[in-house]
């Protein structure tokens, strides 16, 4: 293993460990930016306790994890109760390792793809082409971005189950890049069962798996059908364990209907607190369509030659627009952005986006404190800040899309143009 990576793992592991044993870990765990109803460790413990006492945790409104997490947490909390934070740290570090190797083979594949087309590229575009050294550089940057991102550190210290779902996603990326079909689909099925939204990732995965095939469409359909059947099977296994289908409503129903309006960094809660009840369904489905399939097809047709890029974009989209977003999931998609390092000369909002991230990350908890504890500010302050936060994420995303397209254009048309020429993609 790479020495630099090893040191980074050790250092960031130590940071996570020391914060988790400090007195701040409990207040970090309680922050709404970190723990949502869907991933909070407190609710997990409650669910396990209920389950242990023979009460179906899905009867109430506390527990919304998938049954597999319930069973695993039951086992872990009983046998390794004191080591939970250590186990989570190890899982988080493993995710970074998977991101490292996943992005390594993605970079390699990008480089190989480029080698096939390099003869068609214009002169003077070396600066925006993938170079050989990128195969070593980019993976490290990706892993580094995950390991030292304050968001992922806080997420890990907060002991949320998002640590686990980040791990599953990193496995999805790793196995997709290595063409390990079954593992990829299995991990995605588990992740879909936990968070529901990631099912959209089946599109880039199906595209990736059919890349070198002759009968592409058939292959794609097979992938989707396999995924659906694995997913169905998982749910059936869960049914046999639990003895009833209540968990479906308690997990997917809970996510889709956005029943818990606890403030979070997303866009749902404020809107649906204000909503008249008889319009709720209409707007609910509009919001959910916006999250899942509204952008799915246009983006797929635009970026179909690079499934990995499509995956980055789709993952960011579902993270931003999901009903219970948390900063752990944001940290994960952020760590994939360095994969497209060569697009960075075309990204024009870097500074604004980063500055907004910093300002809102500080201001958000401040106004939340004023609202909840000091009893002086109110919901509008907090929602204002989270709205800006989401906007900056969307800026980042659109900037990345445009940068990718501009880079593609410049690769074939060169980077020098006459001043007299008016160039526009509008």
């Amino acid at each position: 293993m790479n020495k630099k990576l090893l040191y980074s793992l050790l250092i960031s592991g130590a940071i996570r460990y020391f914060i988790s044993i400090s007195k701040y870990s409990r207040s970090i765990e309680n922050h709404v930016e970190i723990s949502t109803p869907l991933n909070s460790f407190k609710r997990l413990k409650e669910g396990v306790f209920l389950y242990d006492n023979g009460i179906d945790p899905y009867d109430g409104d506390i527990f919304h994890e998938s049954p597999f997490i319930l069973i695993a947490a039951n086992f872990l909390l009983k046998n390794f109760g004191e080591f939970i934070s250590l186990i989570l740290i190890i899982i988080d570090l493993l995710s970074a390792v998977f991101i490292y190797y996943g992005s390594k083979s993605i970079s390699k594949r990008n480089y190989e793809r480029q080698q096939l087309e390099v003869s068609t590229y214009a002169k003077g575009t070396e600066e925006i082409q993938f170079s050989k050294s990128d195969i070593d550089n980019i993976p490290f940057i990706c892993a580094f971005a995950y390991l030292f991102n304050p968001y992922s550190i806080l997420n890990c210290v907060g002991q949320t189950t998002t640590v686990w779902s980040n791990f599953l996603l990193s496995v999805v990326i790793y196995s997709m890049s290595k063409n390990m079909k079954f593992i990829c689909l299995l991990a995605l099925a588990f992740e879909t069962q936990k968070n529901f939204y990631p099912f959209v990732l089946i599109v880039p995965i199906a595209l990736a798996f059919s890349e070198n095939d002759k009968s592409k469409n058939l292959k794609r359909i097979i992938t989707v059908v396999t995924f659906a059947s694995i997913f169905g099977l998982l749910n059936y296994i869960a049914f046999t364990y639990m003895g009833n289908w209540k968990f479906l409503d308690s997990t997917f129903g809970f996510i889709i209907h956005c029943r818990d309006l606890t403030p979070n960094i997303g866009l749902f809660w404020y809107f649906f607190t204000e909503m008249f009840d008889h319009f709720r369904e209409l707007f609910l489905y509009t919001f959910q369509l916006n999250t899942t399939i509204l952008y799915l097809f246009p983006l797929t047709f635009t970026f179909k030659e690079s499934p990995e890029f499509l995956l980055t974009i789709l993952l960011s989209l579902v993270t931003i627009f999901s009903s219970y977003p948390c900063i752990g999931a944001i940290a994960f998609y952020m760590s994939l952005i360095p994969l497209w390092k060569r697009c960075s000369p075309f990204m024009s909002h870097n500074f604004i986006v980063i500055a907004t991230f910093i300002v809102t990350s500080i201001l958000g908890p401040t106004v939340y404190h004023l609202w909840m504890y000091a009893n002086s500010a109110n919901a509008n302050f907090y929602f204002g800040v989270t709205l800006v936060f989401c906007t900056s994420q969307i800026f980042l995303l659109t900037d990345l899309c445009f940068a990718y397209l501009k880079r593609k254009f410049c690769l074939t048309n060169g980077v020098t143009f006459d001043k007299t020429m008016k160039l526009s993609l509008e």
Partner: protein, 653 residues
């Protein structure tokens, strides 16, 4: 689509056009923003920009109930005062508990004594003990779900503060009246606290079951009422009242709901006792802009330190609306026959407040929580004052953005000179960047300066270090002084080890400006006054410091800049403020004497700040060491940044 991301490829062309303009005018523009922000604040002292106070919460119904107080309550208050004066001759340094307990029980309150202990963080585990005494009047109309607190700090005869002996008799007389009424739907807690704010803090911690603070052992309460909705703290200097003064500034600059403030003002007026803000009897005329301005500043000055100016300030932390009514004694020695009337008025004020609070159906949530009081009936709300701080801190963020634009384009311009002349009429979108930025070094500097800040905080607040100092026979004050000298030395020496060249320094400056801007924004959300003063002070320095000038080696300029840096060091500033304050307070004293005294006062102030931070949770001290000091260190390092040697570069080409 242009808003989200400009899709045209030639966007760079436009940018370079403006870059020279930006480079030239960035400082001016940002400074202009700062001036507009400051001007905005000054404009707030015009009455046109102020609002009259009004009641938002209808349930309060201020002053609508018919008072049922009779003369016997007034006589009772006078009797209690005489008895208490007698008790005070035999209880020189503590509360006459037996008397007070007996009276409360006699009135019919459930009476309890609350013990608390302070394990003083300095001086090897010294312990101080105190006892609060409180009585609960159960509301007859409803179960104990909500309550009101009427509190009084008790000051024994040997206290250094102003005597407020008349407070206890007054609230006891009111308790006697209130117990006979049957309309209370909230419990009333009559609380007499010991040891000033410490007793109040202990009571609140015990009431809400907080046990994390191991410096103040808050003990147990044997009787509790419902959750506290509001609290009134009384400081009655004498029954012969001249006027009432309101104190609202709480811990960390929190304020009570404006409705509560208005309620007290209205009731005080109604009962014929004039109300003044900040112990000023006479209200200045509405159009007196200068007086308005100073009245604004005087409130903000108290608020900015984050130290509550009365026992009410500690309630705010728990989301309880509270304020202090200080009844100021008449100065003239002429005996007033009207004392009975004054007692009646005071009792009626308490009655009116309690009955209005009794009417509340929900907690205070309407009206304003963020405001600045100009006079008892005028205020400025958050929407009006925030733009001034917003403009000032935005000027920092904008400056950092402009610096970033300049830094990025400068690199490109330098390279463009080396390109072939043929390409002059071409636009090159992406160039190979030749200058590399030493991100790791910049990161190290940011990290190191913050580590110094964290270290400083640990050194000054760590119990083990204080215990060690105590065992070495070094007094706490001196110990803290030495640790601060040590920190200053470390921060001064930082540039010796970490130096940047001008290009990297530019990027460090960008980070620094973002950090400062973010800090100022969130501080002004939490405590507007502190945020405002910090903005006024920090922003001009942060804007006007231009690193590019460093490239010209000019010793005099460098020395002047270093001197300015030393002057704005947080500790120097603290010292300067204390000097100024003591000069204003004792201007007849010798100047040297003041400078000398201020030095010890500064050390004392730091010690008090440490205590405040540890016991009450005042974050001004933490803010100074965690953010302000590191920012100063970064500025200091920027001051020493090396110019780039251009000669070497030319030779190699």
């Amino acid at each position: 689509m242009g808003i989200l991301s400009n899709p045209s490829i030639g966007a760079h062309e436009k940018k370079t056009k403006y870059i020279t303009i930006i480079n030239k005018y960035s400082n001016l523009f940002c400074f202009l923003l700062y001036l507009i922000g400051f001007g905005w604040f000054c404009a707030l002292s015009f009455p046109q920009f102020q609002s009259n106070t009004y009641f938002s919460e209808n349930a309060l119904l201020p002053g609508l109930v018919l008072s049922e107080l009779k003369m016997d309550s007034v006589n009772l208050a006078k009797t209690y005062l005489n008895e208490l004066e007698h008790e005070r001759t035999s209880h020189k340094s503590n509360i006459p508990y037996p008397w007070m307990q007996a009276k409360m029980k006699q009135i019919g309150l459930k009476t309890y004594i609350h013990n608390f202990t302070l394990n003083y963080p300095f001086g090897g585990g010294k312990r101080f003990e105190g006892k609060n005494i409180y009585g609960i009047l159960r509301g007859p109309r409803i179960g104990a779900t909500e309550s009101i607190v009427i509190s009084v700090p008790y000051r024994p005869p040997n206290t250094a503060h102003t005597s407020i002996t008349a407070s206890v008799p007054l609230i006891l007389a009111f308790a006697d009246f209130a117990r006979r009424q049957k309309y209370w739907s909230k419990d009333i807690i009559f609380l007499v606290t010991d040891q000033e704010q410490l007793g109040m803090q202990a009571f609140l911690e015990a009431y809400y079951g907080e046990d994390e603070n191991n410096i103040l052992d808050s003990g147990t309460l044997y009787g509790k009422a419902g959750s506290i909705v509001a609290a009134i703290n009384m400081e009655i200097q004498d029954f012969d009242v001249d006027f009432n003064s309101l104190k609202i500034e709480g811990l960390n600059g929190q304020l009570p709901n404006l409705d509560l403030h208005n309620l007290v003002v209205k009731l005080s007026h109604k009962n014929g006792i004039p109300i003044g803000y900040k112990t000023k009897m006479s209200e200045h005329p509405r159009d007196d802009v200068i007086a308005n301005f100073f009245s604004l500043l005087s409130m903000m000055w108290t608020q900015s330190s984050g130290v509550p100016n009365g026992n009410h300030g500690l309630f705010h932390k728990y989301g309880i609306e509270a304020l202090t009514i200080e009844a100021v004694k008449r100065e003239t020695s002429v005996k007033n026959n009207n004392v009975h009337h004054k007692i009646m008025a005071l009792l009626k004020i308490i009655e009116g407040i309690s009955r209005s609070l009794n009417n509340l159906l929900e907690r205070f949530h309407q009206s304003f929580f963020f405001y600045v009081i100009v006079s008892a009936d005028r205020f400025i709300s958050i929407g009006d004052y925030m733009p001034s701080v917003g403009l000032m801190s935005a000027s920092l963020l904008i400056k950092s953005f402009l610096l970033w634009l300049i830094a990025n384009n400068k690199n490109e311009d330098d390279e463009q000179e080396n390109e072939n002349k043929e390409e002059e009429d071409k636009i090159v979108i992406v160039r190979k960047s030749k200058t590399t930025i030493d991100y790791i070094k910049i990161g190290t500097i940011i990290l190191c300066s913050h580590i110094v800040g964290v270290g400083a905080l640990l050194i000054t607040t760590n119990k083990f270090i204080h215990d060690y100092l105590f065992s070495m026979n070094i007094p706490t004050q001196t110990g803290i002084f030495y640790s601060i000298i040590f920190i200053i030395a470390v921060s001064l020496l930082m540039p010796k080890f970490l130096r940047l060249n001008v290009i990297d320094a530019q990027y460090l400056n960008i980070v620094l400006l973002i950090e400062l801007g973010t800090m100022l924004l969130s501080v002004s959300m939490l405590n507007f006054s502190l945020g405002f003063f910090l903005c006024v002070f920090i922003t001009p320095f942060a804007i006007l410091i231009n690193i590019q000038e460093n490239s010209r080696r000019n010793l005099l300029k460098f020395l002047i800049r270093s001197l300015i840096h030393l002057i704005i060091h947080p500790i120097t500033v603290l010292y300067g403020i204390i000097c100024l304050l003591s000069y204003i307070a004792f201007n007849e004293m010798n100047f040297n004497y003041i400078v000398d005294k201020s030095f010890t006062a500064t050390i004392d102030a730091i010690t008090f700040a440490v205590v405040d931070s540890l016991i009450y949770g005042n974050w001004l001290f933490d803010l100074t060491f965690l953010i302000l000091l590191p920012c100063w260190i970064m500025l200091w390092i920027l001051n020493f940044s090396k110019p780039i040697e251009k000669k070497n570069k030319d030779k190699s080409e």
